[in-house]
């Protein structure tokens, strides 16, 4: 079973607030990812990291930012949340010897009013 955690699970906030979504994994994986997903729809990669101090933007443009200061931690920050940011945010990780398998956290369901 994968050990990847996301907090909070649910978040309802007002427009203009700064938020940070937390993601941690205890598997020592070097690669981590953030996806955005609307209910029942496809995954959109918004950020990824192949190691400490390495971050890249994904295929879908996002106003969020990420950091990777420690291997196990990959937080995502929105400086000023807007209703258009309402979505589910999924964090995943993968590592050497996992055959490209990505292990997902349970997600954070964000609602911006």
């Amino acid at each position: 079973e994968a050990d990847i955690y996301q907090t909070p699970r649910y978040l309802v906030i007002g427009t203009g607030k700064k938020i940070t979504l937390e993601c941690s994994q205890t598997m020592g994986h070097d690669k981590m990812y953030w996806y955005q997903q609307d209910p029942g729809m496809e995954l959109h990669l918004i950020h990824y990291s192949y190691g400490v101090n390495s971050t890249e933007k994904g295929d879908l443009s996002s106003e969020s930012t990420v950091s990777r200061i420690r291997t196990e931690h990959f937080p995502l920050t929105l400086e000023s949340a807007r209703p258009s940011h309402t979505s589910q945010y999924l964090c995943a990780s993968s590592g050497v010897g996992t055959s490209d398998t990505q292990y997902f956290g349970p997600g954070t369901r964000l609602t911006v009013l």
Partner: protein, 113 residues
């Protein structure tokens, strides 16, 4: 742009029926993975296929990788309500010094009792 077409997008069937989900691409994949996602949770890996022509079985689920490693299918025999969920395929392609996953759009399956 690398695409992974998944069909059908939606499927609603009765308990006991059989079904097949397809993933097709013009790209060659080093591996292909199938995930299942339940509402409010992250995707969970079902299987990884690596060799062209490979067939893997997981209880009532049969996965096949095309000979040319460009396509895959998931067949469910005698579907049950517990099979309800979003099924996602993802193909691994080379990207510089790393590999990245190309995700299908997903098949939302509802099995009615």
């Amino acid at each position: 742009t690398q695409l992974l077409e998944q069909s059908p997008q939606f499927l609603s069937i009765q308990e006991g029926e059989n079904l097949t989900v397809y993933c097709n691409s013009s790209s060659v994949f080093s591996s292909l993975q199938w995930y299942r996602q339940e509402p409010g949770e992250g995707p969970v890996l079902l299987v990884t296929v690596v060799t062209g022509g490979e067939v893997k079985k997981l209880k009532r689920l049969t996965f096949q990788f095309g000979d040319a490693r460009k396509d895959s299918s998931l067949h469910i025999t005698a579907a049950q309500p517990g099979d309800t969920g979003l099924y996602l395929c993802a193909g691994a392609v080379e990207a510089g010094n790393n590999r990245k996953l190309i995700w299908g759009l997903g098949t939302s399956l509802a099995v009615n009792p």
